[in-house]
C-alpha cells in the first residue's frame, strides 16, 4: 500500500488518542468510585 | 426604572469612570499606535502594507478591544461594582446595554484615530463613493465588537486568573467580524474591488451585531451570576 506511513499514522493517532482518553476517564472513575457510597451512584 | 434609563445611566457612569481612570487614553491608545507601527516593521514592504491596511486597522482594533475590556472590568471588579448592581436588583440586560454603549463609543473613537493613523502610516486613501459603506461598516463592526466584548468581558475579565479566557472566548466570534469588516472596508477604499462589492460583507457584520446584541441581552445576566 503506497503512502502506508500516513495512513497507518492517521489510524494510529486516532485510536491512540481515543485509548488514552478512555484510559484516563476509567482510572479517574475508579479512584472516585471507591470513595463514594453506592447509594450515591445513579447507575448502580 | 425603565430599562432605557438604567442603560443610559450605566453608560454615563462607565464613561465617567473612564474619564477618571483614563484607561483608554493612557493605556490603550498608545498600545494601538505601537501596534500599527509594529505592523509596518514586521511587513516591511510599502506595497504589502498599503494593500493590507484595512485588515491591519481592524486587527489593531481587536487587540485594543481586548486590552480595553480587561482593564475596564478590572477597575469595576476592584470596587465590586458589578456585584453591587446585581444585588440591588438592577436589570442585567440594562447593565449590558449600558456597558456595551460605553464600550462602543470608546471603540468608535479609537477606530477613527486608527484610520487616521493608516492614512498617515500606510498611505491609505479614502474614496467619496465608498464613504457610506465605510461609515455603516464602522457602526456595525463597532456594535458587534462592543456587544461581544461586554458579554464575555463580564465573564472572563476583571478577576485574576481569568484574563486569558477572554481572547479564547472572543476569538471565534470576532474573527468572522474581522473577515467581514476588512473586506467591506477594502471595497469601500477601492483597494480590492469597488464599493458596490462590499455590501454583502457589511451584511455579514450587521448580522453578527444583531445576533450578539440579542444574545448578550439574554445571556449577560446568567453569565455574570457568580
Amino acid at each position: 500500500m503506497e503512502d502506508a506511513g500516513f495512513i497507518i499514522g492517521s489510524y494510529a493517532v486516532t485510536f491512540a488518542a481515543i485509548a488514552a482518553y478512555a484510559w484516563r476517564v476509567r482510572i479517574r472513575g475508579r479512584r472516585l468510585a471507591r470513595r463514594v457510597p453506592d447509594d450515591a451512584k445513579p447507575w448502580v | 426604572m425603565r430599562r432605557r434609563t438604567v442603560a443610559w445611566a450605566v453608560a454615563v457612569k462607565d464613561l465617567r469612570v473612564e474619564r477618571r481612570a483614563r484607561v483608554a487614553t493612557l493605556q490603550v491608545l498608545p498600545f494601538a499606535a505601537i501596534v500599527m507601527v509594529l505592523f509596518a516593521f514586521a511587513l516591511d514592504s510599502t506595497a504589502v502594507v498599503e494593500r493590507v491596511a484595512p485588515g491591519l486597522v481592524w486587527l489593531a482594533t481587536l487587540f485594543s478591544m481586548l486590552v480595553l475590556v480587561q482593564r475596564q472590568f478590572a477597575v469595576e471588579a476592584a470596587d465590586g461594582a458589578l456585584d453591587a448592581l446585581r444585588v440591588a436588583g438592577v436589570d442585567p440586560a440594562a447593565v449590558f446595554w449600558g456597558k456595551a454603549i460605553a464600550l462602543a463609543l470608546q471603540l468608535a473613537v479609537l477606530e477613527v484615530l486608527l484610520l487616521g493613523a493608516a492614512v498617515v502610516l500606510y498611505r491609505t486613501e479614502l474614496r467619496l463613493d465608498g464613504v457610506v459603506l465605510l461609515v455603516t461598516t464602522w457602526v456595525a463592526a463597532t456594535v458587534a465588537l462592543a456587544t461581544v466584548g461586554t458579554l464575555y468581558g463580564g465573564l472572563a475579565a476583571g478577576t485574576t486568573g481569568r484574563e486569558t479566557l477572554l481572547p479564547l472566548l472572543v476569538f471565534p466570534v470576532v474573527a468572522p467580524v474581522l473577515i467581514g469588516a476588512t473586506r467591506a472596508v477594502e471595497a469601500a477604499l477601492g483597494t480590492v474591488g469597488t464599493p458596490g462589492d462590499g455590501w454583502p460583507w457589511f451584511g455579514l457584520v450587521a448580522v453578527f451585531a444583531v445576533a450578539f446584541g440579542a444574545g448578550g441581552t439574554l445571556a449577560f445576566g446568567p453569565l455574570i451570576d457568580s
Partner: protein, 259 residues
C-alpha cells in the same frame, strides 16, 4: 449524606452491565473498521490509498458535531427546566470533552489526508477553517467549566456559553464560506466524501460512523459518571468542612466563634 473516606464495598468503577456490553461491541466494531478500512476496501481511482484516512476522518467530524449538539441540548435542558438537574450539566460537559477530542482527531487526520491529496498539511478551505474555529470555541467552553463557584453556578454559566456557541456555528460557517468563495480553488476533492463512494468504500465509511458512534456513547457515559462522582465528593468535602466548623464553634474559647 454521610461523610466517608474509607473504601466501600460494591462497585469499584463507573462501569455497569450496559457499558460492558457496549464496550465489547465497540471493540469488535473497531476490528471490523480496521479490517475493511485498511484491508478489504479498494483504493480510490483519484485519491488512491489516501481515501482510507477518510474512514476515520469523516466519522470523527460527524461525531464531533453531534457531540456539540448534545452539549447544547443538554445545556438547554439544564437551564430551562425547573429542576435544573445537574445530570444534564454533567452530560453537557462530558459530551463537549469528547467532542473536542474528536475534533482534534478530525483536524489531525484531515491534515494528513490533505498532505497526501493536496500536498499541503493545511488549506484555508471553508470546512477545515470552520472546524478549527469550532475547536477553539469548545476549548473555551471547557475552560469556562473550570472557573469555579458552586455546581449550579458552573452549570448555568457553561450552559449559557454552550448555547451562545451553538449560535456562533452557523454564523462562522456562513462567513468562512463567503470568505473562501473569494478564493475559488479548483479542487475536485474535499475531505467530506464528496468523492463518490459506493460498494465496499461506502460500507467502510458506514462501519466507521457506527464504530465512532459507539465510541462516543461509551466515552460520554463514563465521563458523565465521573463528573457526577466529582460533584458528590465535592459536596462531601463541603459537608465535612461544615461539620468541622460547627464543632469548632461549639467549643468555648477555641478558634473563632460565630456570633
Amino acid at each position: 449524606m454521610q461523610v466517608r473516606s474509607a473504601p466501600q464495598p460494591g462497585t469499584r468503577d463507573t462501569g455497569s452491565r450496559a457499558t460492558r456490553t457496549l464496550g465489547l461491541v465497540t471493540l469488535v466494531g473497531i476490528a471490523w473498521l480496521l479490517a475493511f478500512g485498511l484491508g478489504f476496501s479498494p483504493a480510490d481511482r483519484d485519491q488512491r490509498e489516501s481515501v482510507r484516512i477518510l474512514y476515520v476522518h469523516v466519522p470523527s467530524a460527524w461525531l464531533a458535531y453531534l457531540a456539540f449538539v448534545v452539549t447544547a441540548v443538554a445545556s438547554g435542558l439544564y437551564l430551562f427546566r425547573k429542576q435544573h438537574s445537574l445530570g444534564w450539566d454533567h452530560l453537557a460537559g462530558a459530551s463537549a470533552e469528547v467532542g473536542v477530542l474528536f475534533m482534534a482527531i478530525t483536524l489531525v487526520s484531515g491534515s494528513l489526508w490533505g498532505r497526501l491529496t493536496w500536498g499541503e498539511f493545511w488549506q484555508w478551505d471553508a470546512r477545515l477553517t470552520t472546524t478549527a474555529f469550532l475547536f477553539v470555541t469548545y476549548v473555551g467552553y471547557l475552560a469556562v467549566r473550570r472557573l469555579g463557584g458552586d455546581h449550579h453556578q458552573r452549570a448555568r454559566r457553561s450552559a449559557v456559553v454552550a448555547l451562545l456557541a451553538v449560535l456562533e456555528i452557523p454564523l462562522v460557517h456562513w462567513s468562512v464560506r463567503m470568505w473562501r468563495s473569494l478564493h475559488q480553488e479548483a479542487t475536485v476533492l474535499s475531505p467530506d466524501g464528496d468523492v463518490k463512494m459506493d460498494g465496499l468504500m461506502l460500507f467502510s465509511l458506514i462501519v466507521g460512523v457506527i464504530v465512532f458512534t459507539l465510541l462516543y456513547a461509551w466515552m460520554v457515559i463514563h465521563r458523565q459518571r465521573t463528573l457526577t462522582l466529582e460533584d458528590v465528593l465535592d459536596d462531601e468535602g463541603l459537608d465535612a468542612a461544615i461539620v468541622e466548623r460547627r464543632r469548632e464553634a461549639e467549643q468555648p474559647g477555641v478558634g473563632s466563634v460565630a456570633r
